[in-house]
């Protein structure tokens, strides 16, 4: 299969994306049953009909089916790996934390594992719990024992997580550079930057000593950990100016009210997520650009995220206005 075929097929598949009007209708539903009925009329309906009981399972089933569909015709499967890799690493973190908790007498939380990773969750659990991770890809073979030993020394799950995240970004960069697709390389760098900016924002709220924050930032983006550390020394008001040489500057410039830090965090994470799609947007007008594969997956992911927000809001009777604010319109 060629990229010309793949991109054309994706263009036709894009017609099945849920639009803004649908989300407006969904969010206005009074009960979850009503929302499920609306969802049943969309492409997600097949999973409701097949007996998936929770909306999480319906959304996961659709995302997984999309990945399996794409696997059939995408010329280079590594493009799918790039999308699925964060899920695999998240699963590794969940399993490790479960094991750490179990050692301290806590409960294992395997229900938090995502089926979206490329590595089967059962295999991953068996590999990590049985300490037989020699066959695991993306450098996990070396990084899991490292994270393990760090946890044994510090008892800090956060430190172990940072090591896993570092490995994720190194693996993403490696796959992207092997693919030699400029848009994908740029996207990975942008993803690392977005992760660092998100961490910086959270750290700014916690008022942590600037010298101690360097380890929270990852290398490989266009902004170095030193740049991020310097950013933390500045007030939030000047972040837009400091980042004006990057595409992130506009995100901070557009924030009107900086007094509500929770709202700022929410707006920035939404804008960062949209900017990750924006990086690949130039490929939208190229009929055979491989970047379109990743772009489609990210758009589908964004749709799933919006669906979760809307359905959680309906299920728990949350404030509709707040939910509307959380919804992103990446497309």
């Amino acid at each position: 299969m060629s990229y010309m075929y793949a991109v054309a097929r994706l263009r036709a598949m894009e017609n099945r994306f849920l639009d803004g009007a649908f989300f407006t209708r969904l969010i206005e539903c009074v009960t979850l049953e009503e929302a499920f009925k609306s969802l049943g009329e969309t492409v997600y309906g097949q999973w409701i009909a097949s007996g998936a009981l929770s909306f999480d399972k319906v959304i996961d089933a659709e995302l997984l089916a999309t990945c399996k569909d794409l696997e059939q015709f995408v010329p280079d499967k590594r493009l799918l790996d790039i999308y699925r890799m964060p899920y695999d690493f998240n699963n590794v973190k969940v399993i490790l934390k479960s094991v750490f908790k179990a050692r301290e007498g806590g409960e294992r939380r395997h229900d938090l594992l995502s089926t979206m990773g490329a590595i089967d969750t059962e295999t991953l659990v068996l590999a990590i719990e049985g300490e037989e991770y020699g066959f695991l890809p993306y450098g996990l073979t070396d990084v899991i024992p490292h994270a393990w030993s760090v946890w044994e020394q510090t008892k800090s799950a956060r430190d172990a997580e940072l090591i896993i995240d570092d490995c994720l970004f190194t693996a993403l960069k490696k796959v992207a550079s092997e693919l030699k697709i400029p848009g994908v390389i740029r996207w990975v760098e942008h993803k690392i930057d977005a992760e660092n900016i998100g961490s910086a924002l959270r750290l700014a709220r916690l008022n942590i000593e600037p010298a101690a924050v360097l380890s929270y930032f990852h290398k490989g983006g266009t902004l170095s950990p030193d740049d991020m550390s310097r950013l933390l020394n500045e007030p939030l008001e000047s972040w837009g100016k400091s980042l004006s040489h990057t595409s992130f500057g506009a995100i901070f410039d557009s924030i009107q009210d900086r007094s509500d830090t929770q709202a700022v965090l929410c707006d920035v994470s939404k804008a960062l997520s949209a900017s990750l799609i924006e990086v690949l947007n130039s490929a939208r007008y190229k009929s055979n650009a491989p970047e379109n594969i990743l772009l489609y997956l990210l758009q589908k992911d964004e749709e799933a995220k919006n669906l979760r927000i809307a359905l959680v809001c309906v299920a728990n009777g949350l404030n509709r206005e707040f939910a509307r604010r959380l919804l992103s319109h990446g497309r």
Partner: protein
Amino acid sequence: MEYLGLTLALFGAALASLLAGIGSAVGIGIAGESAAGVMTEDPDKFGSCLILQALPGTQGIYGLLIMFFALNKLGLLGGGEAVLVTWNQGLQILASCMPVAFVGWYSAIWQGKTSAASIQMIAKKPEAMGKAIILPAMVETYAVLALLSSILMLMGVQLG
């Protein structure tokens, strides 16, 4: 040396048919990949896709037309005696075939790419079919100009 003129003229006729044909085959192939992708998800778009896919095929026909013109000029059609062609006249016929050969070759490939993009356009906006046809048709203009150039040049070659 007796047949050098005829050989040169036939070489030109062959190039017109060959290069324009190759270009059309490649162009149709590119548009076809795109059409197959769209039709996998939406088979109802077969009609629109077929029209857009066929557009780069015209260059191959133009090449064939010029080949017929050249053969006719040389008296090779109809089973009669071949016209005596000097090397100079043969070279003139070869040169006359070049516009459609090269422009046909390149324009068909680029028209195929434009058609592929137009097919992707109608995958999302079926109502824009008219606009989708105009875009690759713009490329066709230059293939038609090349065809006209070749015809006029061939008509200008004096044999006998």
